[in-house]
């Protein structure tokens, strides 16, 4: 017994266009100890199954990936309640970009941003990341399952908390000395 042979026209093209976008989002969204690639492949499998019935596949697949990320996070927390994930279980993030690997100062900044994102509630985290990726408020609302006004609130609070966290004196000195944000180019 397999999947019924329904047409899946356009799935390959959709996957080709959005797979990198989803993987980058999930890598930023998830904390340590969660395999972003595993989560994404799970979401794509489900999208493949449901493809003929999907009306807004982009929002749908992101929403499923967020659900799977929550489940994976719960399992990671259950497995390691103290939060200390053994080195053997940590997921190594392969560097797949064609641009050069960031230096130490970038690594410190990225680490700060990741820590700051993990402190946000999931709706705020997702809203901040999706907004930064250029999603419209309506699209973000479809992913989060709320109204555009609520999305605006999540964005305002999420960005505000992240800005304050990144500007905290306890965070700034951890970065490489003399490396302010002003001198960096994205």
């Amino acid at each position: 017994m397999g999947l019924p042979t329904m047409p899946r026209t356009g799935f390959a093209e959709f996957y080709r266009v959005h797979r990198g976008e989803l993987l980058v989002f999930i890598r930023q969204y998830c904390g340590d100890g969660v395999d972003a690639e595993d989560i994404c492949s799970g979401a794509w499998e489900r999208a493949y199954v449901e493809w003929p019935a999907l009306r807004e596949p982009r929002s749908w697949v992101f929403k499923v990936a967020i659900n799977l990320a929550h489940r994976a996070g719960r399992e990671a927390r259950r497995a390691y309640p103290s939060g200390d994930i053994p080195a053997s279980q940590q997921v190594s993030v392969r560097w797949l970009s064609s641009s050069p690997m960031p230096g130490a100062e970038w690594g410190a900044l990225v680490s700060d941003v990741r820590d700051g994102l993990q402190r946000l509630p999931w709706q705020q985290r997702a809203a901040v990341l999706l907004d930064h990726d250029g999603w419209s408020r309506a699209e973000i609302a479809a992913v989060l399952g709320c109204t555009t006004i609520t999305v605006r609130g999540h964005l305002h609070r999420g960005r505000g908390r992240l800005r304050r966290f990144l500007g905290e004196p306890s965070v700034v000195p951890q970065r490489a000395s003399g490396e302010g944000l002003e001198g960096r180019t994205a």
Binding site: M1, G2, L3, F11, A12, Y15, R16, R19, G20, L23, V24, R27, Q28, S41, W44, E45, R46, Y48, V49, E50, W60, K63, V64, I66, N67, L68, H70, R71, R74, V93, L96, S97, S98, S99, P102, W106, G107, L109, V110, D112, V113, R114, V128, L129, H132, D133, G145, G160, L162, R163, R164, F165, L166, G167, E168, L181, E182, R184, T185, A186
Partner: protein, 174 residues
Amino acid sequence: MMWLPRRGISNDELDKALAASRRHAAFTDSPAGADRQVQDELRMIAIRANCAASRAPDDLRPMRHHPMLWKTAWGVAAACIAVVAVGAIGAGAFHALRASGQPGSMSALMAGMAAIVSSWVIGTLLLLSANGIKSLDRYLTGMRARRQHGHDHGKGFGNPGAEEGSRLGDTVTG
């Protein structure tokens, strides 16, 4: 009102920081072999989706103690303890007031205690019924599927993923 500057970085700086984070997590295919890689991944997705759809009953994973069942049990126990505690306090107060000989205060106290207990019980039952029915439904679905396929290996097995195929992505799991 005195204006106080807000701590933190500016919006531009935050955008730069997010862009750096995004670049760090970026996925850029190397031009050579990218198409083949996508084709391989698509093939793998189709295979795994087919495997999931055709999973035999023998492959059913053992069901762990369902957290919702435990939550329900703890909720019932907590509600019972709360009702007993409120009842004990009420009985104590009732006896104290009866000894003092003020019937008006006593009836007011009884009415108040009855209102508290009943609202507590009703609220708890409403919460528990939602959670309990959901968890029991999932548990019984697994039991039924196993029995239909003649693979009843005894206690502790079920099909936690039985409903997954029909509700994927519809709800935030948790």
